[in-house]
Symmetry: C2
Subunit: 187 residues, 2 copies
DNA sequence: AATAAAACTAAGCAAGTGCTTAGATTGAAA
DNA sequence: TTTCAATCTAAGCACTTGCTTAGTTTTATT
């Protein structure tokens, strides 16, 4: 007794995610989302409540895609080397054609004002910590490291991952590879 | 035979810089600049041409303030240790009250779209490379390091500096200190 | 005191923002 | 085949954006 949706919500979110990733949150207008997602504003608002809703859903989708990479590492079970591989994957992942997009989460952390959108910020912090925990569990796979050293190294690795997202916009490919090599040299 | 300006351009730019730093480029409107700088829109446009002009001038001012720190290090002449000190200074510098603002340049690199504002982007890249060169010259103060190793380490250090700017918004103070310690542990 | 150029104020412009709503279209159940 | 709620389109809402302009005030020089 009703009409069927003419679009698939997951499909249109993927497109929205791409736009947010390339463009940033604020710089992406609902009109642009309309075009990119290929659906009318009304549909956007009825499916995702508002622009923030589209963004939160985009972050969820991003998580899913990242989880794909994470899973590979978790299974490989080779500690620090696994993390290093993750860094290289990340470098590829954050590049589209010749455009370096960085990491959607890092970009957003930097853009979104803590107090202006606490809900989104909370989501982003959670995400960053999930990756950090992944690093911790991988570091534990290598023997003879005490707990506190592992925590420090995880922070250090996160810092370099966050940095790469920005560095990728300013530095050349070979510099980015240098960075990864030096980062893992003494771990 | 003309009226005198009722404001000092350097003074109002300092205020503008603070606002851009806290708020980001896009999120700062000319109306907000009016209030913060304490002058009328007309004056803003006649002194600095447009919003981008105010921003470029703000970056120059930021450079000046950073140069203050840089000079201390240059004179101290103690290589890697000098850079480490710079990192700690940066951490303080990027904090105002309890609010972590990160680095104005890093924030901007992340926000400004390469092709949308190439002029600003060029300025930011130059700035990043100036700091990198400072690192290179400090690294050379320590003996027995070959050229290529120094270049790699400079990239690595820049990556950690860029990272800190974002990490400071997501992690706690002690984690930030951990990061610096691990970064310099094996240099 | 008269002049005129620079600096000021404040109103206003077109275009863009996030979001809503009135009305036409669809399509599965009655 | 009729019904009617979900889905669509497109126009429009109030508000903000960067920037301009008409008109007033100031002030060093004549």
């Amino acid at each position: 007794m009703a009409r069927k949706k003419q679009y698939n919500e997951e499909e249109v979110i993927k497109k929205a995610m791409g736009l947010f990733w390339r463009n940033g949150y604020e710089a992406t207008s609902v009109r642009m989302l309309e075009k990119e997602m290929g659906i009318n504003q009304f549909s956007i608002y009825s499916s995702f409540k508002n622009k923030q809703g589209v963004f939160l859903e985009s972050i969820k989708n991003y998580k899913k895609e990242i989880n794909g990479i994470k899973e590979i590492l978790r299974q490989s079970n080779n500690g620090v080397l696994g993390i290093k591989q993750y860094f290289y994957n990340f470098l590829e992942f954050s590049t589209e054609g010749h455009i370096r997009k960085g990491c959607l989460v890092t970009n957003s952390v930097n853009e979104i004002k803590d107090d202006a959108d606490p809900e989104v910020m909370e989501e982003l912090k959670k995400f960053a910590n999930e990756i950090r925990e992944l690093f911790v569990s991988n570091l534990k796979q290598d023997d003879k490291k005490d707990e506190s050293k592992i925590e420090c190294q995880a922070d250090f690795l996160m810092n370099n991952l966050l940095g790469l997202s920005i560095a990728s916009k300013v530095f050349h490919q070979n510099q980015l590879e240098n960075i990864i090599e030096v980062t893992f040299k003494n771990l």
